[in-house]
């Protein structure tokens, strides 16, 4: 701490910011204390280096002043607004052409969209139709839930109940042995 205080006073001594009393006290201390004298010599040497070993570049200051002044004038000038009307028009035309071209290509590859105003049948499929059974059932198969499941509160049972609960296999012909075919 004492060393720190001594060095701080030496620093101010070099800068000439100590008052007369402090300055004289330090000078006496330096005369009597070799450590203080050595520190003062080191700080003085450092100060000399700081003031002489870092020279500035040679600058043409007249030219620099003119350049700065011109740069200020340039920066101060109101911005020039250029009109790009023709560019805007050209861009609009190009965009419109692109849209027309894209539409044409889509129609070429996909055809015109058709619409009858509703989600009606586009393709009618005529296929085999079931015939109404007219004989007695050959066999009745129960495919619904068991009576127990149907009666219970299980949600799975409800799903099963919603499905067809019965499949009837009927035949219009009398049962025959396949080994005794009529042909």
């Amino acid at each position: 701490m004492l060393q720190e205080d001594l060095e701080f006073r030496i620093s101010q001594y070099i800068d000439g910011t100590l008052d007369d009393t402090q300055r004289r006290a330090l000078e006496r201390e330096v005369e009597q204390d070799p450590n203080a004298a050595q520190l003062l010599a080191q700080y003085r040497q450092l100060d000399r280096y700081l003031k002489t070993a870092l020279p500035l570049p040679d600058v043409n200051y007249d030219a620099l002043a003119s350049r700065i002044s011109d740069a200020i004038d340039e920066a101060d000038r109101p911005p020039v607004l250029y009109s790009f009307k023709w560019v805007r028009r050209a861009v609009s035309i190009a965009v419109a052409a692109c849209i027309v071209l894209a539409g044409g290509l889509w129609i070429y590859f996909n055809g015109l969209p058709r619409s009858n105003g509703s989600n009606g049948v586009i393709v009618q499929v005529i296929g085999p139709q079931s015939e109404a059974a007219y004989g007695d059932p050959v066999q009745v198969i129960q495919i619904g839930p068991s009576a127990y499941a149907a009666a219970g509160p299980s949600p799975a049972a409800e799903a099963l109940i919603a499905k067809p609960s019965r499949l009837v296999i009927a035949s219009a012909a009398d049962p025959v042995q396949d080994t005794v075919l009529p042909y």
Partner: protein, 208 residues
């Protein structure tokens, strides 16, 4: 007379006018008054910026930017008499920002502003620019090396200590002005200068 001076005739006896009067005149549209402020402070601005950046082209560019910024915000200056300190604050802030970003900017053609001899120009193209473009051709190799070491040591100091050393010790600006620029008290300037010196002494102990 240059075209700018012709457009804005310089006030009579401008060289003797105080900074405050020149600021007022510049605010009233007399560009020549601001040109006088440029002439007064450009060297100090280049010096502070150069010592912070270590590159003359960067320092010139920052100096130019600082004056443009000062001109544009001149109406915000609170103490026109303290224009120099206000400008140095702009210079130091721009330099520190420039140093932090170290962005690669398109170099302005500023070489013509640097007055160099052929051999000096050749030496400046390699490595650090320190000492390469100086006005003292008799500088010894020893002092060139010392300058490089000192520059490197300065760059390692904390910002406030570095600025205090550069402005007060090297540029010998008044302590009060340095205090205003750094936004600290005069006592704090003394302390930062001392702390900076102490660190430099440790870093350069083999040379002291």
């Amino acid at each position: 007379m240059d075209p700018q001076s012709a457009r804005n005739p310089a006030p009579e006896g401008q060289g003797q006018l105080s900074d405050g009067v020149l600021v007022e005149q510049a605010l009233n549209g007399q560009k020549a008054a601001f040109d006088e402020l440029i002439r007064r402070y450009q060297r100090q601005a280049v010096a502070v910026s150069y010592r912070l950046l270590g590159n003359s082209n960067d320092a010139l560019e920052v100096t130019q930017d600082a004056f443009i910024k000062a001109y544009r915000s001149l109406e915000t200056i609170q103490k026109p008499e303290a224009f120099g300190g206000w400008l140095m604050r702009i210079v130091s802030n721009l330099s520190l920002n420039y140093r932090r970003s170290r962005k690669t900017r398109a170099q302005l053609p500023l070489d013509d502003l640097l007055e160099t001899g052929g051999s000096q120009r050749a030496s400046s193209t390699a490595g650090s620019e320190w000492m390469a473009r100086t006005g003292n051709p008799h500088q010894t190799l020893e002092s060139v090396e010392m300058g490089q070491r000192l520059h490197e040591a300065l760059q390692q100091l904390p910002e406030k200590q570095r600025l205090a050393i550069i402005m007060f010790t090297i540029e010998q600006m008044p302590q009060k002005e340095v205090a205003d620029i750094l936004g600290i008290s005069v006592e704090a300037v003394k302390w930062h200068v001392f702390q900076g010196r102490k660190r430099l002494k440790e870093m350069l102990k083999d040379h002291l």
